[in-house]
Amino acid sequence: MATKMPKVPVVIVGMGWVGGIIAAELSKQGVKVLGLERGKPRGTQDYYMVHDELRYAQRYDLMQDLSKETVTFRNTEKVAAVPMREYGSFLLGEGLGGASIHWNGQTYRFLPYDFEIYSKTVERYGKQKIPEGMTIQDWGITYDQLEPYFDKFEKLAGISGDAEQNPMVGKRSNPFPTKPMIKTPVLKLFEEATKKLGYHPYMMPSANLSEQYTNPDGVTRAACQYCGYCERFGCEYGAKADAVVTVLPVAQKTGNFELRSYSNVIQVLNDGKKASGVVYVNTVTGEQFEQPADVVIMASYVFNNIKLLLTSKLGKPYDPVTGKGVIGKNYCYQTNGGSAAGFFDDKEFNLYAGAGSLGMEIPDFNGDNFDHSDLNFIHGAGIRISQTGQRPIATNSVPKGTPSWGKAFKEQSLKYANSVLAVSPQGSSMPWKHHYVDLDPTYKDAYGLPLPRITFDFEEQDRQMIKFVAGKSAEIMKEMKATTIGSSDQLGPYNIVPYQSTHNTGGVIMGAQPETSAVNSYLQMWDVENVFVVGASAFAHNSGYNPTGTVGALAYRAVEGISKYLKQGGIIV
């Protein structure tokens, strides 16, 4: 029997970026908020020994404990799904701050095109441009409507970027709050090459602070030291924006916020029309608690948001046969491939140094920034170079034809340890009728709930896109004058083993109509007005950009919706 706790106005499931932003904003407004986090509390004091590639990057110290919960995966409905038993393709966060602790800090805004992808595609190319089974749809909000929220998130985090607006991305109401990061020789090489080719390079917007910064909440953070340990690591300086060094202290200061760690939510209590609270397990003692609340905010990662809605019977589950229902619909990933590696025989770079978001990109082949009339795909990829810190276990690049071990491997991997650069596209992912997340019929988590099951593969559209952008990457690397270039323009089936990106999206998508979306533009569930499902689960498709900037903006948008709901009730429009 669960112990019943006193009712709270707002309970948040998951205390990462999204949960932290919502907790801070609501508690500042005087709303009492309870945050439930299944993992442990932590702070910068825990990162004193963080420059440990083995512990953090190879052994995933900061990630979700897969012995308790994971996902299952299959490429198509024709085969049985298999549990993801160890990490590979993407890395799930756990503990206070969630995935905001171990991200790189690359903070893009999605393009104006992204939010109206269906309308803009039809407008420019006609309906026949959209292949059968591709389920792209508009998001129920435009870039211009979302712009103030992007601005808010960037000021919160202190995003560093170019002073001059890049003409190929969405217009900004304000310049970046901090100056761009240091333009290293590596970046200059890319910049010169891409400019020469007529493209529009700009500094990667960065949550690794380029300078000391005080945000509108009065939180001051130190500048990045370029130590080269961002992705998969926590930042001991607090220079990399995360929930623990920005929003959570703000929430705590108000006196209106309570945090409960080691609290894993296993059910959202509801009667199909309204939620009455949640049930959570104390992960240390195994004891169950019922937590009544007026409003439930789902702020955990994509898979957990979907899973909890399905197991709690909230919203209509997606049916891939009819295409009806919404929970689990439009699961997307990203398309990583087509990069060009350049081996420089006559140059050594300081590749051991870097920052997670130290890089440049060209947006010329992302979104609809180029003409797709004669191409067999829509959308595209951002093409980048980044200098994130070349760590020695992970990075042992050798030219093609070199054996993967032995004398020649040793020789070549040492020779190029500081002389290999990569130009890499990060491609969009379009939704398809047969790509979705539902509940696995066989495998269960440590609490007896079914694991979420992913059905996903790359499509011909993705192969065509990678072929196209691979040509551009190789062209840029050639212009950068590498001695030897290694590149591939082939994209195989989606494989859950090699790491690609933690950019999983969709499943609880936003939109203008309840028939085709789960939440409205305030991330409020159409079917259950006092539940808000916030995060990349709301993306109706995935762009060629890193998702966090858009996630942050949507979190601020949700805050506005929740505040309105607390005052007036009903569906917010």
Binding site: Q58, R74, V79, E86, Y494
Partner: protein, 256 residues
């Protein structure tokens, strides 16, 4: 311990003496612990000095980290011999043996990682498509010990010798067969799965922080001019030339 304070590589003649003596005794004391202890080349190990250490540097004490936590003597020897082929010593610098990789691997197998403690272990274990992951129902430490045994068995069958006594090309031939999956480790698990894990372990042992037992004296990092654990690079980011620096380890970070 007197000879341990010379601060240089073990005397090769002494090493081979112990090795051959051990082989001979091992032949008599079949499988006996005494024989295998004597045949061990690990008992004679000294801490290798850092190549960049100045002549005035204090001499290295014995490295008490170098004792097996998990593997037996024979498994440790095969591990060392195989790792050395994957990352061999050459004129540029040390290989897996001198970097302590075998001890690194042993220590990892003894750790929670060796028993897959943070992985999903609920069955059924079904063999899926390649794209669904090559996940084993046996634990990592079992995969490694079974793989080592399988290499030893192959060696005995093919060359009538122990793996550690093979010529370099013969060792490479067995490792290559492993890598290609031509050798079976145990029920349905091919040598390929073993090899991939073993190769990763070797690379980790070469380049992980020395606190784990490998990358001895940060020599793995020095090979590739990696500065290890520095607090800041902000002042060199715009420099055009390569900036070399003496590496630092997490040991240097630790406030005693």
């Amino acid at each position: 311990m007197a000879e341990d304070h010379k601060g240089k590589s073990p005397d090769p003649s002494r090493r081979s003496f112990l090795k051959y003596t051990g082989t001979a005794i091992g032949g008599v004391v079949v499988g006996g612990a005494v024989g295998s202890a004597l045949s061990s080349k690990f008992g004679n190990k000294q801490a290798a000095p850092s190549p960049s250490a100045s002549p005035q540097a204090p001499q290295q004490a014995a490295d008490y980290n170098q004792a097996p936590m998990f593997l037996n003597q024979s498994q440790l020897q095969i591990t060392e011999a195989a790792a050395e082929r994957i990352f061999p010593k050459d004129d540029k610098g040390p290989g897996a043996t001198d970097l302590g990789v075998a001890f690194y691997i042993d220590h990892q197998l003894a750790s929670p990682w060796g028993v897959n403690s943070r992985e999903y272990r609920t069955g059924p274990f079904v063999k899926g498509e390649i794209t669904q992951g090559d996940y084993q129902s046996i634990k990592r430490h079992e995969l490694i010990t079974m793989g080592l045994q399988s290499m030893e068995d192959t060696s005995k069958t093919k060359y009538s010798k122990s793996f550690v006594d093979l010529a370099p090309e013969e060792k490479d031939a067995i490792l290559t067969s492993m890598e290609k999956g031509e050798i079976m480790v145990v029920n349905g698990i091919t040598g390929k799965t073993f090899f991939n894990l073993f190769r990763s372990l070797t690379i980790e042992g070469v380049y992980s922080d020395p606190l784990y037992g490998g990358n001895k004296n940060m020599q793995g990092w020095k090979l590739r001019k990696y500065p290890g654990n520095q607090m800041a690079y902000a002042n060199i980011m715009d420099k055009d030339q390569f900036v070399a620096m003496e590496p630092r380890s997490l040991h240097d970070h630790f406030a005693h």
